[in-house]
Amino acid sequence: MLNTGAGLPPPVSSHDVIVIGGGHNGLVAAAYLGKAGAQVLVLERRPIVGGAAVTEEPWPGYRINTFSYVTGLLRPQIVEDLQLGSYGYETILYDPQSFVPFPNGTSLSLWNDTERTQKEIAKFSKKDAAIYPKYEEYWDNVLDLVEPLLLAPPVPLQELVGMFEGPQAEELVRELFLLSAWDFLDEWFESDEVKISFATNAVIGEMCGPRTPGTAYVLAHHNIGVLDGQRKVWGFSKGGMGRISEALAAAARHYGVEIRTGVGVRRILVQNGKAVGVETAAGEQFHAKAIASNLDVKRTLLELAPPDAVPPEVRRQVERFRTRGAALKFNAALNDLPEFTAAPGRPGPHHKGAIELAPSMEYLEKAFDDAKYGNFSTHPFLDIEFQSASDPSMAPPGKHVMTCFVMYAPRDLSGTTWSKFKPTAGERCLDTIAEYAPDIRKQVTRWQVVSPEDIENTLGMSGGNIFQGDITPDQIFSYRPLLGWANYRTPVPGLYFCGSTAHPGGGVTGAPGYNGAHAILEDLPALKKG
């Protein structure tokens, strides 16, 4: 083929849609587009698809959820539409949902059964135990309101507020958008142990403390899980988080989607102001009618799009979109499960769920205070899972795996770097666990620290933010990722968002992929006409 010289080099191939990035949302978007009959190509820089939803084997026989580690948020409609079950997606609902040990040897477990949880709460406060079913009911009502908003483009906040009338509705707006988790939980409960058991979900992944206004919304975001027909719950993806992405990729291929791994995108090609294709790191060019970016808004519009394609005002907005990394992962291979002082014996039911090491609201707030000034928390908060305790396929016979989501870990450390600091960070994680499970060091044979810097570099997530942008109230709904560009379209015609950077935000929900695909499908006939 001849290069005419004036235009772009001839394309290697041409598709209807190119999806940049094979993270779970990119795959969801590709599958829905393929299902609707579009010719779709997915380009993934890494050798495996899945983005943050992958399972790797850093040590032979030990399957580790390197980044994302539990499931629950994936929208049931997506599981059903794409028949993910037939491609190997299976979940294990865990119970208790969380086990919180306290330094004095007591503990609180949140079970899937309300009455059983009430009994646990009653150890700390009878009043709180009595009100707990009401609290559950409150979240059920919120879910009823929020669920229909997830698989749809976001409505402007005013419209959302306008839907509410009367003091009760005003109360809801106040609680969900304006309150801190601390204030919110204070209004419900009196026991600090009870409050902290619910509070960890309000800060997870966010550079926010429980006292930061708006964190009550983050709590809501993490309460939208549905598993086995039960609401507000979490579980494991059997075989690891990677199975979700593998199932999505299989579903996409079934619909004719082409997926290429090991192909990074260097830039988005724009002609006459319109996105027309991509150029890979190797210099290959692919053309398409529409480009869907599974990457965050910063990477998409500041790095991949040509500078002159993005108006300066939009650039400024993009720069100010907050993508603060807040967490690291501490993953390990174990000889055996550690024994917790607060619940002797192994395996106990708590080994099969999530274990939260954050014994008080103040502890959590102080951990955040450290990070505000560029330090890894002196006393970090850890969210720990031993998936192998309920899913033996994750480790060699008799052995176990442990993943810990650890906060707060700022992207940039003051006075040091992550590469220098990782060993210290790892030791600090072990020390913290040892306060509750003294034999932890005896059980751990190998460990790895995945720092916010690693998350940024390995996955390409700006700032190492796992949600592709904080999910605080100023960055949700029609503010996500940019005011005026919350409907998955971008200032560059033909370029779309289909990742967590768009509504309804982070977590393995599949929702941005679903919504992004539908925006493209709406526009595709017009795009094809040119």
Binding site: Q158, E165, P167, E171, E187, R211, P213, E362, L483, G484
Partner: protein, 516 residues
């Protein structure tokens, strides 16, 4: 009947009497004024013990009640603000924008150029919000409908969901300027300019006018107490009766309606309508009989934040202190609000410390030398100084206010010393007013001088809680006329005026049968 003769109680009483209602104000202390008073702790030194600056008082209230006739006079200050920095530089805010721009240019040319645009933007925001802040609060739904479209959507995000730092960073690059402007985001709420919702606090503290100039602050000639004296005179001129030294022990409720009060000495006074100028927690948790408040309301009250923790350090001075950043004595900067809070980081750290129960060290402060502009408040040649110091939590971890007074005073002096090294020499006498004092002397829950924090979750129709923002409380016949109601704290008179109008509407609607 109005419980509490603070400025809002007096305003409500004046409006009620002006419309022909028979009004009595009951004030526990021997004099009226609440937090808006001027006292003479040392002969000849007139000190604004609590509230210290004028500008927020509604122009409507001043005019409609004829306060000028009753002795209310103000002096605008120019410069309005003076911010010294540790490196010896300083920033003054003048009434003349061009002059302020020159000051800003020392720190950033870009910011100096952006400043007039910022002021215009701010003026537009205030024009939009002033009618809302002056009137009864609209419901969130009404607000949402009134402000449709992307432009308002951005405003909603910037003012309600974002921090003052986010807001200011859209405009400016200089840390010094951002700190100087971000300071007011910490006045009236226990928060830091880095925390979401604080851009709104900036708005609240900008709705001022003095001598006909919007956005201006200044002094009340003779001290803040002159404001409440004028209000009391106006109320009395309209026929209201004011009884001081009469504390209220409880509200009388009969058949689900408020019928009057019982005083501290056991007397019962009846009234068809009772307006409480006391904060919402005290009103419903301490004065109302326990079984008259719905359970759901009790839960909401528990969540109503009354932090806003301020310490006052007031002093009699031999002479004005000399600031390293501006050695001139006296200089125009002595008439300004001198703010110690040189960076947003400084303010944020002060907050973080207080959030875990300690007096901020170093604290930030707003200092006024009223005598520099108004010699009537000090003996000839002498001066007064009032410092509003933050944050001082109501409850201290590991100590009590009684034990911590000396240390707190020392901390204030050593903080000031960094900017004005001769401060210890010039102070003749000093008094410390702790949050505990504010709570016990004035009866303000938590020592919160705003009757509840001015954060977005406690404003408009959410203040004091959804369903009660129209000044009517859940017990029929009982109204809220103080700063716990919309639009909140500060010497504005607006809650008093709005509440009076609601009461008058209810009184007229059902003649004979009493109000709702």
């Amino acid at each position: 009947m109005v419980i509490g003769g603070g400025h809002n109680g007096l305003t409500a009483a004046a409006y009620l009497a002006r419309a022909g209602a028979k009004v009595v104000v009951l004030e526990r202390r021997p004099f009226v004024g609440g937090a808006c008073i001027t006292e003479e702790p040392w002969p000849g030194f007139r000190i604004n013990t609590y509230a210290y600056l004028a500008g927020m008082l509604s122009g409507q209230v001043i005019e409609e009640l004829g306060l000028a006739r009753h002795g209310y006079r103000t002096i605008p200050h120019d410069p309005e603000g003076f911010v010294p920095f540790p490196d010896g530089r300083s920033l003054s805010f003048w009434a003349d924008t061009a002059r302020t721009q020159k000051e800003i240019a020392q720190f950033s040319r870009h910011d100096a150029e952006a400043y007039p645009r910022y002021l215009r933007h701010w003026a537009e925001i205030l024009k939009l919000l002033e009618p809302i802040l002056g009137g009864n609060p609209p419901s969130l739904r009404e607000l949402a409908e009134r402000f449709r479209g992307p432009e308002y959507e951005r405003l909603l995000r910037d003012l309600v969901l974002r921090s003052a730092e986010d807001f200011l960073s859209e405009w400016f690059e200089s840390e010094e300027l951002k700190a100087a402007l971000g300071f007011s985001a910490c006045v009236g709420a226990f928060t830091s300019p880095r925390r979401p919702g604080t851009a709104y606090v900036l708005v609240h503290n900008s709705v001022t006018q003095l001598g006909g100039r919007a956005g201006a602050w200044g002094f009340v000639v003779g001290g803040m107490g002159r404001t409440t004296e004028a209000l009391a005179r106006a109320a009395q001129a309209f026929g209201a009766e004011i009884r001081t030294g009469v504390g209220v022990r409880s509200l009388q409720v009969q058949g689900g309606r408020v019928t009057g009060v019982e005083t501290a000495d056991g007397r019962r006074i009846e009234s068809r309508v009772v307006a409480s100028g006391v904060d919402i927690k005290r009103t419903l948790l301490a004065l109302a009989p326990p079984d008259t408040v719905p359970k759901e309301v009790l839960r909401q009250l528990r969540g109503f934040k009354t932090y806003a923790t301020t310490l006052k350090f007031n002093a009699a001075l031999r002479r004005l202190p000399k600031f390293t950043a501006k050695p001139e004595v006296p200089g125009p900067h002595h008439q300004a609000s001198v703010t110690i809070g040189p960076s947003l980081d400084y303010l944020d750290r002060a907050y973080a410390m207080a959030a875990v129960g300690h007096l901020s060290d170093p604290p930030f402060a707003e200092i006024l030398f009223q005598s520099a502009a108004d010699p009537s408040v000090a003996p000839p040649g002498h001066h007064t100084m009032t410092c509003s110091v933050k944050y001082a939590p109501r409850e201290l971890v590991g100590t009590s206010w009684a034990d911590h007074r000396a240390a707190a005073a020392e901390l204030v002096l050593s903080t000031l010393e960094e900017y004005a090294p001769d401060i210890r020499e010039v102070v003749e006498q000093a008094q410390l007013v702790t949050p505990e004092d504010i709570e016990t002397i004035l009866g303000m829950t938590g020592g919160s001088c705003f009757h509840g924090d001015l954060t977005p979750d406690q404003m408009f129709s959410l203040r004091p809680f959804p369903g009660a923002s129209d000044y009517r409380l859940p017990i029929p016949g009982l109204y809220l006329c103080g700063s716990s109601a919309h639009p909140g704290g500060g010497v504005t008179g607006v809650p008093g005026r709005n509440a009076a109008q609601v009461m008058l509407a209810d009184l007229h609607q059902t003649p004979g049968s009493g109000p709702r």
